[in-house]
């Protein structure tokens, strides 16, 4: 029996032929697959290796510890404390973010506002990124979260660092604060740290001015991550460089006394070393709590801060400019003595001075009678200084005021300082496009008119008169362990006699009966202060009111009352501490601001921080430089 009939034979040959064709096709496909492998693995292999590495490794910045801000005796004014946080990873919250937040909310309180913020953050970020749900938890709260952790899917407790200002509102204007990075901050800088979620930078004060030193340099951590961004392990760790500590000249204890003494009044007060310009206390009240800005100010808090008529957000000591009023007479007195108008020069004060067709009033309606320079300072006679100003001329006044530190920025390290105004011919031409009028010289002579100063400048003025040196106020002493360079102050271009006359006049203000501040003198022997009072009108007093009698400040609404000023130094015989103080709308008979000045200067002398050894971490070179200075 034939195994294949003919048709079978033809089937067989057809099958074999076509099987061969298909085998050829399959071989071709294998060749293509092999070629593709060659292309991917050999030709483009290096490029894909890079991509695989980029996939695998994620570079994380490790924020450096921010430098501390420390007072002259080593007290931490701004430091870092542990921040117990609770983070939520949306991807891992098995039954949804809302349910997870509800569960956390049963353990610690989550305000509605915070909840909204968390939901917003989660919507904006990748689902595997941890989003902070609650920060700055107490240890108890943090422990409770950790205890319940097995039942909280996606919740991640975390310990970070946050800025802490242990003295709150005290020093707020000196230290400033740190806050979240804004888009504007990123314009000038490309430090990758700025993109780190939750990173804070200095926004004001020393925190801002010394941002570079305080921030330090970021460390880096190379981490292996999986496709979901979850960290598998750390491949390498490069520690960052911690920020440098900034040491201030401030004495925290004196500062605290000043802050407490000023209380909630709208005040500014500066205390400095007359020999060096080291600022020992710099206060502007009311302040604000810098910790608030770190965690984020709520709308209500922001509204309170901005609508308060005592303006807690404004640093009155540096950026508040005021007419100096009679405190300017201290500078006038230096100019007068320097021009020889001290001995054998007196003015008869009848309560007013007619100049041209204008009458210039003395604060004392019925006049002071015969007044020389010494008595002019002591009783603050306006007519005496009108006449002195007229004789000196505006150019001499302008020149002397500048030499005493007014009319320009002192260059203190805190940002936001204003220059104030010491008017002159060129200034007026430039500002108003008009010629200087002689009548304006008279107004300038009693610190009114165009004259504007900051409390810091007033303290500089007092310190310069007290020491005879052209000191400049400084508040930063050491950064890291390097002393900040400071020039040895030049002596003022006034003779000793000139300054002695002015100091003796200022001594009489407080220590001789009849002086404008005699009632608030320091009676303790050896601690006496010298000073000069001042009042700055905030309203125009009409001629009619002058005739009827100027209204007493006590009868006016707070906003209409005069600003009250005082500058002084102590001890009167051998000055070491200078002070300036302004109390906005504080011009009442009881002179509360002079009482404050008295208490502060007495406290300063009794504590005597300048005699105490400082705690600056100076290296040998800096120490040598410091001792030369």
């Amino acid at each position: 029996m034939p195994l294949f009939d003919r048709k079978d034979k033809s089937r067989y040959t057809t099958f074999s032929r076509r099987a061969l064709m298909m085998s050829g096709g399959m071989t071709a496909v294998f060749a293509v697959l092999g070629g593709r492998l060659y292309q991917l693995q050999i030709e483009d292999g290096d490029q894909y290796k890079l991509q695989a590495e980029a996939n695998r490794v994620s570079l994380h910045l490790v924020p450096p510890a921010r430098g501390r801000i420390i007072d002259r005796f080593g007290t931490e004014l701004a430091s870092n404390r542990r921040n117990y946080r609770v983070m939520l990873i949306a991807e891992q919250a098995s039954d949804g973010v809302d349910a997870a937040l509800d569960r956390i909310g049963r353990i610690i309180e989550i305000p509605d506002r915070q909840r909204q913020k968390v939901l917003r953050d989660i919507a904006q970020n990748k689902k595997f990124l941890p989003v902070p749900v609650a920060e700055n938890l107490s240890w108890e709260e943090f422990a409770r979260i950790n205890l319940h952790l097995p039942y909280l899917a996606g919740v991640q407790p975390d310990v970070g660092e946050t800025r802490s200002y242990p003295y709150g509102a005290g020093l707020s204007h000196v230290l400033g604060y740190v806050a979240a990075v804004s888009p504007d901050d990123k314009k000038d800088e490309d430090d990758p740290l700025l993109d780190l979620p939750g990173f804070r930078i200095g926004k004001r004060g020393i925190e801002k001015a010394y941002e570079g030193a305080l921030r330090g340099e970021a460390g880096a951590s190379r981490q292996e991550v999986n496709a979901y961004g979850r960290i598998i392990r750390e491949l390498s760790h490069q520690p960052g460089v911690p920020g440098k500590d900034v040491w201030l000249t401030i004495d925290q204890q004196l500062q605290q006394f000043v802050d407490q003494r000023l209380g909630n009044e709208s005040c500014a007060c500066v205390v400095m070393d007359v020999q060096t310009g080291d600022v020992l206390a710099l206060s502007s009240t009311p302040g604000f709590d810098p910790n608030l800005f770190n965690v984020g100010v709520s709308n209500a808090e922001w509204k309170t801060l901005t609508t308060d008529d005592h303006k807690p957000l404004i640093d009155k000591a540096l950026s508040g400019v005021y007419p100096p009023g009679s405190t300017f007479k201290a500078a006038m007195a230096v100019a007068a003595a320097n021009a020889g108008l001290d001995k054998n020069f007196s003015v008869n004060c009848s309560g007013a001075l007619r100049f041209g067709n204008h009458v210039f009033h003395c604060w004392k309606k019925h006049g002071h009678g015969h007044v020389d320079l010494h008595r002019g300072i002591q009783v603050s006679c306006d007519v005496f200084f009108y006449e002195t100003a007229r004789r000196l001329g505006i150019d001499a006044i302008e020149d002397t005021a500048h030499k005493l530190g007014l009319g320009h920025q002192t260059g203190i390290e805190i940002p936001g300082e204003r220059a104030g105004v010491i008017p002159g011919r060129a200034w007026k031409l430039k500002t108003y496009g008009a010629k200087w009028l002689d009548g304006e010289t008279l107004n300038t002579g009693i610190g009114q008119g165009y004259v504007l100063v900051t409390p810091l400048q007033l303290c500089t003025l007092a310190a310069r008169i007290a020491s005879g040196k052209a000191i400049l106020p400084r508040v930063v002493r050491v950064v890291g362990n390097a002393a900040q360079p400071r020039p040895i102050p030049d002596p003022l271009p006034f003779s000793q006699d000139v300054l002695d006359v002015v100091r003796s006049g200022m001594d009489a203000v407080t220590n001789v009966p009849g002086g404008t501040a005699y009632a608030w003198r320091i009676p303790d022997p050896g601690f006496e202060m010298a000073g000069k009072t001042g009042t700055a009108q905030v309203r125009v007093i009409s001629e009619a009111e002058h005739l009827a009698g100027v209204k007493k400040n006590e009868t006016l609404p707070w906003k209409m009352r005069d600003h009250a000023l005082f500058i002084g130094f102590a001890p009167s015989s051998a000055p070491r501490y200078a002070l300036s103080i302004i109390m906005e709308h504080g011009g009442i008979a009881a002179h509360p601001h002079v009482q404050m000045a008295r208490d502060i200067l007495l406290f300063a002398q009794k504590r005597d921080p300048l005699k105490l050894p400082t705690d600056y971490p100076l290296n040998a070179a800096s120490a040598a430089q410091a001792s030369r200075a």
Binding site: L3, D5, K7, D8, R11, A19, L37, L40
Partner: protein, 384 residues
């Protein structure tokens, strides 16, 4: 092959003799390929037998038993069960479609007691058997006759339709290719083949223009340029190419593939296992594995060509081509040559049904080999 072993010249042979006849070299080859799969499953589980490598080894062992058992079954018995197997598979496809709506879960699966099976996998084998069975009775000229061709096309078309509406694009594609190949091998006239190929060439641009939805076009565009949507739909293929490419010449080493270990690869234990293999063993390893596959296929072709019955020839070649289509589609897909369709790499990818189906297929191939000398008349096959 031309010398006929004595034992097999007889119509019945003792099982023990058949056992010796089994080509153990092929079994070894298959085992080596499967071991490459175990290694990758072990590696993808970060060096653990659980959850993939262990079960896979058990399934492979079961598969080996099935292979040998099938090899011992007379090829005429397979011929006899061809139509019933096809009918049952078709029925199961209908059941799974209907039962799927009754809430049995995924439409592709069906529960048979404790075992879950995919009727579409069974259909791949059943279709090959049924077509071979039908074509066994046809001469070369008969194949191209409209009457027979209509029946053959219906045999292919019915399961294709049922699988396509599941929907299961990968299996549909495989069924179409299996069916078309068998018709081609059986001697379908070029007068039929040429117009169909021309028609397809015209249909594709027409479909692009008038039939496809925008999202479907988007899918094709993403395939053509995966980097254009690197985090979206192109993610899988981009990551797969990175995995393969970063393997370089010699690979990153066993257990050292980063792409798979760090979950950048989708479905790394099933459809994309080829990528982790290429990543860890490099060009050298991948080419070696491809060569092993090619040898297995070459062996299959040889079995087909040397078989004496048309049924065995078509079955052996059908099984071999089915195996080849799996490899081709899977490798081309993960290497970015064709769009992503869900087709596993045979013997290597994790998956029970796929493993058992492939081993069952090799069992049939082996049965064809063992019984290659058995002659079956075209008409009245005289099935035992």
């Amino acid at each position: 092959m031309n010398t006929r072993p004595y034992a097999l010249a007889r119509r019945t042979v003792a099982p023990l003799e058949k056992l010796i006849e089994v080509n153990w070299g092929l079994v070894l080859l298959i085992t080596i390929i499967a071991c490459a799969g175990f290694a990758m499953l072990y590696s993808d589980a970060n060096g653990h037998l659980w959850p993939w490598a262990g079960p896979q080894i058990v399934r492979f062992a079961a598969g080996l038993l099935i292979l040998v058992a099938c090899a011992l079954v007379d090829v005429r018995l397979w011929m006899r069960v061809a139509y019933p197997a096809y009918a049952i598979s078709l029925l199961l496809l209908v059941v799974v479609k209907v039962a799927g709506h009754k809430g049995l879960g995924a439409e592709r699966w069906i529960a048979l007691g404790p075992v879950e099976i995919q009727p579409s996998e069974l259909m791949k084998i059943a279709l090959i058997l049924a077509l071979a069975r039908y074509l066994h009775g046809l001469s070369v000229e008969d194949v191209s006759k409209p009457r027979h061709l209509a029946i053959l096309l219906a045999m292919i078309g019915l399961p294709v339709l049922l699988v396509a509406i599941q929907p299961n694009l990968g299996t549909t594609l495989i069924l179409v290719m299996d069916g078309a190949s068998i018709l081609f091998l059986a001697g379908l006239s070029w007068w039929w083949i040429t117009p169909v190929l021309a028609g397809v060439a015209v249909a594709i641009p027409t479909a692009w223009r008038f039939v496809l939805h925008d999202y479907q076009k988007q899918r094709v565009m993403t395939f053509l340029n995966p980097e254009s949507d690197a985090l979206g739909a192109g993610w899988n293929i981009t990551q797969a190419k990175i995995a393969i490419g970063s393997g370089g010449l010699t690979g990153k080493g066993f257990l050292a593939g980063t792409q798979s270990r760090l979950s950048f690869l989708p479905e790394k234990q099933t459809d994309f296992i080829w990528t982790s293999f290429c990543e860890e063993f490099g060009f050298v390893g991948a080419i070696a594995l491809l060569i092993l596959f090619a040898v297995v296929i070459g062996y299959g072709v040889q079995v087909a060509v040397s078989s004496r019955s048309q049924f065995a020839r078509l079955t052996a070649m059908g099984i071999t081509l089915n195996f080849f289509f799996y490899i081709m589609i899977n490798a081309a897909m993960v290497m970015g040559l064709i769009p992503v369709v869900g087709i596993p790499m045979p013997l290597v990818s994790y998956g029970g049904t796929a493993m058992l189906t492939v081993m069952f297929g090799f069992g049939l191939l082996m049965s064809c080999y063992v019984h290659r000398q058995v002659e079956i008349p075209r008409h009245n096959p005289g099935i035992i």
